[in-house]
Every structure is written in C-alpha cells, then in structure tokens.
C-alpha cells in the first residue's frame, strides 16, 4: 500500500451503532442493533426487503431519527447531530441527482452551499470538481444534465457528489439496485477500487448476497429488524450463525436430524458432521448443493426423483424432488450420466446443524 493511501486509511473513522431501536406505526423496524464498523472498512448491510437495512443506514446518516440507541463517528456521539452536520456522503438508490443542474454543478453543490468562511474559492471548487470527475471516469461530461446520462453514469455522478464534501464516512443505499446486471458487475469492481483509493469507512445496503459477499470486507446480515450475524464473507458462509443466514446466503436443503452422542443422524444413518456431545435431540441439518452427492437408490440418507438439470458455470445443478415433496439442489460435475425423471439416493457429505 503506497504511503498516501495508508495516510488516508489512518484518517478513516469508525462507526459505532449501539442499541438502535426504531418503530414504525407500532411495528418494530429495528430491534436493539449493535454494529461496529472498523475504520476504513467496507461493510455490507445485507437482508431481504423489510429487514430494516435501509432504515439503519438512514439512521446512521441522520435522515431518520432512532427511537433509542446511539450512533458514534470516530468515538464522538453523533446521535443528536442533524444530518447537515454529520459529514456523511450518502448515495441514493435512484441517484437523487439535481435534475436542473449540470453534472459539474451537482458535484460542486456541497461546496457551494457552505458558509462563506468555509467555502473554497471558485477556482478551487472547479479544480476539485474536475478531480472527482476524473475519479469517477466522467471527464468531459461536466456540462451534461442528469437526463442525458445512463444509469451507471448517474450513479457515478452521485458518488462524486457525495465525495466532494470530503465526508467522514460513505453510506450507499442499494447503489446498484436500479441498474442492469452487466453495469452492476462493472460498478462493483469500480466501487471496490474507489474504496481502496479513498480509504473511507463505507457502509452499503444490498439485498443481493453475491454483491455483499464479493464486495464487502464484512457482511452484516439483517432479518426482520434484527442483526442475525456480522462477519467476513468466509465466516458468514462457512459458519452461519442462524438458519436464516444459511438459507439467505444461497440454496440450502434442510434435513430433519437426530443428534445423539455427538453424532448427527439423518433417517437413522450417521452423517460426517460434528456436533457437540452436550446437544441431544431434534435438529435441522442444512446442506449446500455441494454438500450432497447422488448415489444409488436406498444407498444414501434419502431418496428422490430428478426433476431438472441446469448448467451453472463449470458445474451442473440437479433439482431433486424428495419423497416428502421438498425440492432441493445438488451440484454435480459437468459430465454426468444423470437424467431427468431418474430415481436416485442422496448422500450427505457435510452441512451445518441448528437446534430447532
């Protein structure tokens, strides 16, 4: 890491959210959320719609007031600071660019509205604007209007505008939510790059688990206003804390399991999954498609009928309809002799157990 970048990193502040609770019309949108965002970190708030992730982001920004709880930036309490004083850069899902202003005026807005004492000179504002246009690769577009830009370009202008005020933290609400798949992929890599270069503590909201896992240093998974788990992409994928995290991060099949003497049994047959000796009784065993292996009928832990085969990158996904009518997915090599309609057995190779 070059010296300039590490210097920027050291200026980054941490964000601490403690006990934040918010109710909307009697229904709890957020239950006592505690999150620490480390200085310079890129954190994803991941969850389905209605999980409270956007509300949490807006509380951090100061656009929404929490009923209880506090927000700290770099150790100082920002809970009672109005949004104008929080020095956050906020990027909205639908860009929220000022329609009647040119790209350059949009970016310069945050500097123009400053009091005379803090406002940079017009020349300085122009210099900063063109620097930011360079950063978001939109040089030459300064006199365009938002309506003349593509979705991806608009979102880049929105980011440049947010960065212009040199915010302490950067907050992005579903930044790629309104864009098509190809542009999303490009912008992901580009955002990662911008984050590397600016070194700002960044929180972004997404409902797309791939986006969160690919982009973020750590992922906070929210569900129904509660924090289910916070951890690195590896941690949340390999050691999910709750069945919700397990199922939300990708396809997972659930098997009714019995735990006895530190062994996990499915349909009476042991599974090579460890379990603490102290836990005894019914549990759910959750398996990813690559945790399962097709075998001969009655040779595995359960039986099923193949209802479909799809190609997924360098592998094939086999859809299996279990005896109980439950559909699950199994990953097999590209070259496979399996056919739709065939009855097979399934062997469980790995999985995660959760007490019911």
């Amino acid at each position: 890491m070059p010296a300039a970048q590490s210097a920027k990193r050291s200026q980054a502040v941490d964000i601490r959210v403690t006990g934040v609770t918010k109710e909307f019309a009697g229904a709890a949108a957020l239950h006592h959320i505690d999150i620490d965002v480390r200085p310079g970190e890129l954190l994803a708030l991941l969850g389905p719609s209605g999980s409270g992730k956007t509300t949490l982001l807006r509380i951090i920004a100061g656009l929404v007031e929490a009923d209880r709880g506090q927000v700290f930036f770099g150790g100082t309490d920002a809970t009672s600071l109005p949004v104008q004083k929080r020095q956050v850069g906020f990027v909205f899902q639908h860009y929220a660019l000022f329609k009647h202003m040119s790209v350059a005026d949009n970016i310069a807005y945050g500097l123009q509205v400053r009091g005379r004492a803090n406002r940079p000179s017009p020349a300085e504002i122009r210099r900063r604007t063109s620097e930011l246009l360079d950063l978001v690769q939109l040089s030459g577009h300064e006199s365009r209007f938002p309506a003349q830009l593509s979705g991806g370009q608009r979102q880049r202008v929105a980011l440049a505008r947010a960065l212009a005020v040199e915010p302490r933290v950067l907050l992005l609400d579903e930044p790629f939510g309104a864009l098509d798949a190809k542009v999303r992929k490009d912008l992901r890599a580009w955002l990662r790059d911008i984050h590397e270069r600016t070194g700002k503590t960044t929180v972004f909201v997404t409902h797309d688990q791939d986006e969160a896992l690919e982009l973020a240093d750590r992922v906070a998974v929210l569900n129904q206003g509660r924090l289910e788990q916070i951890g690195s992409p590896d941690e949340v994928q390999d050691h999910p804390a709750t069945p919700f995290v397990m199922t939300f991060l990708g396809h997972a099949a659930r098997f009714a399991a019995d735990i006895r003497d530190g062994r996990v049994l499915v349909n009476g047959k042991p599974v090579p999954v460890g379990a603490p000796r102290s836990t005894i009784g019914q549990a759910g065993l959750y398996c990813r498609p690559w945790h399962l292996k097709p075998t001969e009928t009655d040779q595995g832990h359960c039986n099923g009928t193949i209802s479909g085969i799809r190609r997924l990158g360098s592998m094939r996904r086999v859809e299996v309809l279990r005896d109980g009518g439950v559909k699950l997915e199994v990953e097999v090599p590209l070259q496979t002799s399996l056919k739709v309609g065939e009855d097979i057995g399934l062997e469980i190779l790995d999985g995660v157990t959760f007490r019911d």
């Binding site: 949004v83 104008q84 929220a96 000022f98 329609k99 807005y109 945050g110 509205v113 505008r161």
Partner: protein, 293 residues
C-alpha cells in the same frame, strides 16, 4: 386477409392514431364538438368585443374614463395583489406538508383544500358575512373597535382567498408527491440548510407548476363574482370590483360600457389561456410531474 395486406402496403405513420370508427362517426363527433365550442365560447367572446366597440373606439375608451370604472380596476388589482401572494404561500406550505410529511389528519387537509371547489361562492360569501357582518358573530366587537371587514377591502380579500384557495395547492401536491424527497435529502446530506434546500432544489423543480397555479389563481381572483358580490356591498367607487362594476353597468342599460369593461376580463382570460398553453407546451413534463429522472 385483404385488409391486412392493404394495411401492410400503407406507409406507417405512428403519429396518426388508429381509427376504428367509420369516418362519418368521426366527422360527426368533431362537428358536434366544434359547434358547441363556437356556440358557447367563441360566439359570446366575439359578442363581447362587438358590443364593446358598438360606438367605436371613443365609446370604448369612454367607459374607462369614468371614475367608478377606474376605481373598480384599481380595487380588482389590489385584491389580486393581496390574495394571490397569500395563496401562493398557503399553497406552497400545504403541498409541502402533504407531499413530504406523514401526519394525522392529512387526508382531512386534502379534502378541506378542495372545499372551495364544491361550495357555491355565494354561500362562502354569506358565511363570511355571518361572521364579520354588522349582525354577524364578531360584527359588534369589530364595530366597537372600528375594524371594517364586511363591505370593505378586507372582506373582499377574504372572500377571494377562500374561493382561490385550491389553485396553487392542487397544482403542486401531485407534482411534489411524484418528485418525492430524495433530492431534498441529498441536499441535506451535502450540508445545505432547510431554506437553502428549498431555494436551490425544491423551488427549481416546481417553478413551472407554481407559475401555472398562480396564473389560474390570478384569473379566478380577478374574475370572481359570487362570493365578492355578497361581501362587497356594491358601494360604487369603493367596493366594486370589475365583475361587479360590469353587472351594475349592465343593469343600468349602459351596454357599451358594460361590455367594454367586460372585455378587460375577456382579455385577461385570453392572456391567461395563451400563457397556460405556452407553459404546457414548453414545460409539459414538469407540470405533469413526470419529470425526467
């Protein structure tokens, strides 16, 4: 089959709507519509000007030489100059509150804003008279303190404000609802104060809708008859607005003067119409709220 093949041979002109009716039906409906327009709009308008100029240019101008006519014009301008800005402020505040905030009684407020449209202007004038008139609820108190409201400028302004209340708000509410608050929120996160946000973000987004509302509000304020008629007391040279003055002249069989003064209102209507069409033509998208994102 043959229909389809001829259709394919025809040049495609997307601007021409697909006609499903027979052509005589189309011609008949257009003719009926035009006949109505001519009979009820264009003909009366022409009559106004023909009657106004029946005694030539001198006769026309003479109607405005009269002191009472000049007083009526002055009063109408004064009433509009007071009530239109007040309605502008009210309309902005109401539509801002309705479009950007959630609060109890919001639907009641929207209904109340529409009330002047559904109440007969004469009734609204009467209500104010019952409140502020000499025999009214607050009349004795006002008399004792020498405050004149009924049969004076304040009463006329009150009645006009009531009647024109919905115009600005009605125009702005759907526009502001459609635009949402994201741009304002963006401005706030960038450090702009609430007032600054209003001036630099909200106002530019609604300016054409606002102008449109003010235009209609002004036309109604100058042309209002019923409510003002009840509240003014028809004191010549003092509390007669242009519409009231026209009525008096007409009742006195002074047709040329009546139509001459009426032609002022007709001109106002034409100018309003022209400006309105111009706004719709130039800024149609901004007015409908379907502003480009």
């Amino acid at each position: 089959m043959s229909d389809a093949s001829t259709a394919l041979l025809l040049p495609l002109r997307p601007s021409v709507p697909v006609a499903t009716e027979q052509s005589w039906v189309r011609r008949l409906t257009i003719a009926v519509a035009l006949a109505f327009l001519f009979l009820f709009l264009i003909l009366p308008l022409v009559v106004v000007f023909v009657e106004a100029f029946r005694r030539g240019w001198e006769g026309y101008l003479a109607a405005f030489q009269e002191a009472d006519a000049q007083a009526a014009i002055r009063l109408t301008l004064t009433v509009a100059a007071i009530s239109v800005p007040l309605n502008l402020v009210f309309g902005l505040a109401a539509s801002w509150a309705i479009a950007k905030f959630e609060f109890k009684g919001k639907s009641l407020l929207i209904t109340l804003i529409d009330l002047p449209f559904s109440v007969s202007p004469v009734v609204s004038g009467l209500i104010y008279l019952l409140l502020f008139g000499a025999q009214g609820l607050w009349g004795p108190w006002l008399m004792a303190h020498d405050v004149k409201i009924a049969f004076a400028l304040p009463g006329i302004v009150l009645a006009t404000i009531f009647v024109t209340l919905p115009f600005v708000a009605r125009q702005l509410i759907p526009l502001m609802q459609e635009q949402g608050s994201a741009e304002e929120e963006a401005a706030l996160t960038l450090g702009a104060s609430g007032w600054r946000t209003f001036l630099t973000v909200t106002l530019p987004n609604i300016k054409w809708g606002l102008l449109y509302g003010v235009l209609l509000c002004n036309a109604r304020a100058m042309g209002e008859f019923g409510a003002v008629s009840v509240m003014s007391g028809h004191i010549r040279g003092l509390t007669n607005t242009i519409p009231l003055h026209v009525e008096i002249l007409y009742n006195e069989y002074n047709f040329v003067a009546a139509f001459a003064v009426a032609s002022l209102l007709a001109c106002l209507a034409l100018v309003t119409l022209a400006l309105k069409s111009f706004l719709e033509w130039c800024h149609g998208a901004d007015l409908a709220g379907s502003a480009i994102r």
